[in-house]
């Protein structure tokens, strides 16, 4: 009876508190933007000089940052590494989860494999770091290929857990019908199971992308500063920025921008992906 009225009533005090609280999220971003657009001469020592809007919105800092940090190369490396990791992860992890998930109940080998892989979640990179530096150098994969390979291994525990969990909801009857028609395991997977895993592919893509795109440690130790990804470039060129904070902040903003733009368009997908991954 009264519900329709209640629905239209918003809780304004909480809304206002949340809007005020937003300052804590947006202030660092505001600071980044205004400093990135300013020229060093505008940065007087007073706080007004730092935080006021730029007198002219100049792109000079960005042009220089792109040059100094070799931006396009770093961006390309980041895009290639992330894209390759996502692509390979989706294919390999869903495939192995399928093999494991469908045989776990009946075969010890597969059950053991499942626990073996999933327990890898407890192994932090810091433990593997020192030996991996040697191993990748010896195998001559201390390059983007090696980084992708490592990511595929590091994200395997989480993704296999997610995929096998999801697989439980896909009835075996579908595959059995295909089998009767003479379809092989391989083609059954690609024709029936892989497409049905669609929602989980999205979750895996989002979680893997967030993790690899922003990761610094793996590319830092494996490629030891010879090849940069976008975040890693901020570390490598830190000395070149010196005390020119305007240049540095232009570079930081450029590093944040691809993810912010992507988030703008895929906000729902990203948030849902994160929720799906965490809750499962």
């Amino acid at each position: 009876m009264a519900t329709s009225k209640v629905k239209e009533k918003f809780n304004w005090p909480v809304t206002i508190l949340l809007l005020i609280g937003l300052v804590s999220v947006l202030f660092p971003l505001y600071m980044t933007v205004v400093i990135a657009f300013k020229s060093p001469t505008e940065m007087t020592t007073s706080i007004e000089g730092i935080l006021s809007l730029p007198q002219t919105w100049s792109l000079d800092n960005f042009a220089k940052a792109i040059e100094v940090t070799d931006f396009w190369h770093s961006l390309l490396n980041s895009v290639l590494i992330t894209a390759a990791t996502i692509g390979i992860s989706i294919v390999v992890h869903s495939l192995v989860a399928y093999a494991i998930g469908r045989n776990m109940a009946s075969r010890k080998t597969f059950r053991f494999s499942y626990f073996y892989i999933v327990s890898g979640m407890f192994v932090p990179f810091a433990i593997l770091m020192l030996p991996l530096v040697k191993e990748t150098a010896q195998l001559h994969i201390d390059n983007p290929v090696g980084v992708v390979l490592l990511y595929v291994v590091f994200y395997m525990p989480m993704n296999v857990l997610l995929y096998t969990g999801y697989l439980k909801n896909i009835p075996v009857a579908l595959e059995e019908a295909a089998r009767v028609d003479g379809s092989t395991t391989w083609s059954t997977f690609w024709r029936i199971i892989f497409p049905l895993m669609g929602p989980m592919h999205a979750t895996v893509a989002v979680l893997t992308a967030l993790g690899t795109w922003n990761d610094v440690m793996t590319p830092l130790v494996i490629m030891s500063g010879n090849i940069n990804t976008l975040p890693l470039a901020q570390l490598t060129f830190q000395t070149q920025f010196g005390t020119n904070y305007n240049l540095a902040f232009a570079s930081y903003l450029l590093a944040m921008l691809p993810m912010l733009v992507f988030y703008l368009f895929a906000q729902k997908k990203i948030i849902n992906g994160v929720i799906n991954g965490a809750v499962k």
Binding site: V92, L128, M129, K134, V216, Y245, A248, A255, Y263, I271
Partner: protein
Amino acid sequence: MHFGKNMRTYYLILIPVLVLFFAFNTFPLINGLIYSFTNSKGYGGFDWVGLRNYADLFSDSRVGNSYLFTFKLALLGTVVINVLSLVLALALNSKIKFKSSLRGLYFIPNILGALVVGYVFNYFFTYILPYLTHSTSMLADKGWAWVAVVVVCAWQAIAMNTIIYISGLQTVPEDIYEAGALDGASGWNKFRYLTFPLIMPFFTINMVLSMKNLLMVFDQIMSLTQGGPAQSTESISYLIYNNGLAGGQFGFQSANAVIFFIVIVTISVLQMRFLNSREEQL
């Protein structure tokens, strides 16, 4: 016959993947364990030293301090992150205007790279905050630098944990509150006896997640303090990286990594045991 062929496909998928996983996860883990019994510098030859690295670990004050700092950060961080994100989630889940925009905006910190965020906050702590508080930079103060690290870690982690709490709150059916309201539950009591028990599984996820991430902190240290001042903010990961790769302590830091691994596994298992048992009680 047909069955056999199917099984062959499954094995053909499984075995290469297991080999890959072993090669880049288990093998380096075993290798690290082996190096931990040597005095390897990371290059050249090395000798076996038995358990000496492990004995030295416990008397090394730099290692001790890094554990102290990392635990301090993880404990305070976990509490701050979970309290704030729970409050934020309750607010964002109430009947507010601009609900989806607000949720979207509060999630932004989580999509940004920790290293770049650290650099931005580094500037904030060095040039903006001292101006407001009329004091020196927190980052240059041995007693306060670790708090700055907590703030930056929390800024990002709260975004993630809030979203998880919101998804938890959405699983609570509306009629439970209606029934509770009949019994006179409101405000704090409503939260304490109705909401919180029902979102307990999400509390478990968030506690384990934030604790584990904070124990492994690296990027923020790299961009905020580089372990300083006076090694007061050297996290375990940072120390393993720094001294293991560049400091000629490959063998010694391998032993540190083995202990660190055992600590992380123990804490995660204990946390899950404890929180799961509480889930069942409720």
